[in-house]
Symmetry: C2
Subunit: 207 residues, 2 copies
Amino acid sequence: MGTMTDTPQGGIPRARQEPKQARSRVTRRHLLEAAVSCLAEHGWAGSTVGVVAERAGVSRGAAQHHFPTREVLFTAAVEYVSEERSTALRELFHSAPAPRPAVVEALVDLYTGALFRAALQLWVAASNEEQLRPRVTELEARVGRETHRIAVELLGADESVPGVRETVQGLLDMARGLGLANVLTDDTARRARVVAQWSRIIEDALT
Amino acid sequence: MGTMTDTPQGGIPRARQEPKQARSRVTRRHLLEAAVSCLAEHGWAGSTVGVVAERAGVSRGAAQHHFPTREVLFTAAVEYVSEERSTALRELFHSAPAPRPAVVEALVDLYTGALFRAALQLWVAASNEEQLRPRVTELEARVGRETHRIAVELLGADESVPGVRETVQGLLDMARGLGLANVLTDDTARRARVVAQWSRIIEDALT
């Protein structure tokens, strides 16, 4: 009972409250990361709150406390991991202006791996499921704008020059297409050659 | 009995045999076209041989006579419609060398519409289903090679020049990415601007 003396009336001791909030954040993060892996590996049909909870080592009830529906969980997961990737990309090129070929390569890398696979599954499911569609459409627009902003910044592209905006957009469309080509087969070798050639073309187009 | 006199021993009268074969071809085509629309609209989970048979106005038994399994039906459908599109594209530019911007636009058009949506659904389903995967991977490689061949031919690209092969590949990757951007929202206006700019870039890169 001694610890209760430094507690606000009726409240939880500060020393116990903070670890609880921290634990809650960790649980949330584990659920989001498990949701992305699950979606990437098993697709929308194989991805439920229960499966993700088990994968994250959390009870189904705790998972539902954080994410009341399947739609909320999976869109939050794709958004969370997208933000993580954006932050990592900005930090990678934080210190100095990067050479454009390295930036093109890093941008294309955003579209290979588990995050893109998960986003693709969500995207395709949303095209068939009405209750998922508005949420995913809105998420996609937000992530797309942010990726475009990062690309412009890291490429040092001047969007006041006519055509530059569309050059960058086309590059990101190409990156998305390369991501799609990597879903069924390992397209690494072909992709490296395409990226090398298009780095030169983008360099010319932006100079 | 009179018509039987001009029939090979034990055979079917020629006049009756041909319409039957023709009817069988028509039924097959209806099933393939219905399968692509079904896949584009309802996704893999909502696409069965029964649903397609009903849509094509054919009995389930007749559908199964043509396509014994769901996997065979849907991969055959995507292949059939891809071939139809390739033939149409070749015929469109048959008479004269086409201006490159028109070719770029026509190539990008291959990736919007029902065929791309259907192929995308099949692709994503194949990434989660082992019995579908080898068939779709092989189909994708075949259709990809054919599209690349058409692109090189129509763009008048000289692949003996270093980098030209990858320029064309990157263009088709961009077209695929633009197709993906059109799945959830109508991306027509943005796409037209990107295609106009990238037509200029391709023209410079190939000249």
